[in-house]
Amino acid sequence: MIDDIFAHVTSHYPEHRAVFDGKNNFTYRELYVKQQQLVRYLIDELQIGKGEKIVLFLPNCVEFILSFFAIAEVGAIVVPLNIHLKEKELRYYIEKCGISAVITDSYLLSQWGKIPSHLQAIQFILFDKLDILSKNILNSLSPENDFHPSMETSLDDEFLYLSTSGSTGRPKIIPRTHYNVIAGAENVGNALEVTNQDMFLSVTPFFHANGLSNCMFLPIMKGASIFLMRQFSPRNMLRLIQENNITVLFGSPFIFSTLSDIADRTFCFPSLRFCLSTGAPMPKGLGKIFFSKFGIPVRQLYGSSETGTISIQLGDFPEDESSVGRPLNTVTVKIINKDGRELPPYEVGEIVVKSPVMIKGYVDEPELNKEAFSNGYFKTEDLGMLDRHGNLYISGRGKKFINVAGIKIDPLEIENVLLSFHKVRAVFVTGVKNRRGTEMIKAMLVAQPDCSVSEVIAYCKDKLAEYKIPRIIEFKDEIHRDIMGKVAW
């Protein structure tokens, strides 16, 4: 199971550097000792039991990693949530998932508003109050003779609940088993030939599927090292890559675009083996610009929270930037038409995927599951084709979400919030391309004459995470919809 992998890696590479952030360094042995302290605390003090759902509400930090592996050992289920979510959004997850505890830090507690006082059955564990990171005890612990609670877990037990944007106004919950999580990291690790000599710069948030699997669990699984970047800054990132001999960098098109923007000269990073772009399609031309400044190609990675990574562009620096590469070894991709018939190469249809990381269905969504999971395949609703070499090309995205710097946002969720503002009568929310070729949120409102942009934003700030607040707000006299319900804007 996942905690066994952690113990196994620790026994093989005890003195190898596991995690550091510029201030604190932890070897695998030191990390393991801290993790065991946390396991004891969760069981002895809080009586956390098998199958309980525990929210991790933390940025990219050592505490997140310790909590992840501690919860695995206890047999509970990790529910990582975006630390920018507000009280109303967090209440949804509490009800949907049946949360019994939250691990967070004091400075993030205010995001939960009145929840700690209203829902006293939920235990709030403030990691900074536990003093686990600074204690220097239990040095005799080692994976060979450590404390193991007698939890019987199996590979098929649920371990991780991920959240993904729906198109219904409410996020869906994706339940991954221990097996799904391990297979996902194994897939990507094998494709990139990750070893314990690798150094990951982990800036992609751990509360997202890609960040958690590829930037946190994968390097730990291979005994590699992680440099934690809690917050992205392009200038800082360039310095960190240089100073720490980073070998693997996962990012979004926004990250690679801003790095290209601020680079006022060419750079040489001999240690950097891979730059991988995830979360959104690379805008046309960005790959070439990045290569001209840094001499390293940006490889596109295509995947979904439902299936894990599907493909990575690993060939010679591609002339055609729209390919997302070949499916990984254990992943099967088919292109089908509306009748479900498989299409030959070069014909465009819906991309369906089978993968060992694939879930069986969303939590409590029986109708949606019938539509999305069929004959052992997941229907991505993306359109694409395969060429005769097996390279996958995406030609369209079926799901209606707005992609802000790699984060997928359901416009219906924002529309529902805006419509609940008493001054707003009608609304349409959509994504518009910015000058980088990535998306930002635009809201068109029919509202009372005295309604202002600042009022609308102030209303949204209380109910929506900052990244969901519309960048552009336009007031209209009316919003025209055609017979298909489409808005002419």
Binding site: S233, I457, P470
Partner: protein, 90 residues
Amino acid sequence: MFTEKEINNRIKKVIMHSLELNLHEDDFLNIKNLDELFGMDSVAIIELVIGLEQEFKIEIHPEYLNSEIFKNMDTLTAYISTLMNRKMGE
């Protein structure tokens, strides 16, 4: 040497251009804090920093990304002025 008023006006133009906001200069008059005009998430702050660095040929230290400096026009103008004066003194 630029006055604070000139710096203030240039910052407004950077905000509107970098963030591609559908605003006029007058929209800045009635607000206390910049986050009343747009959702100030991490993407917006990075875009703003890059725009300001390119406009004023300065370097904004990453440790200021989370600070109150970006809260309103007064603190931002004062900060940019300081950086420009420091640069001129070099």
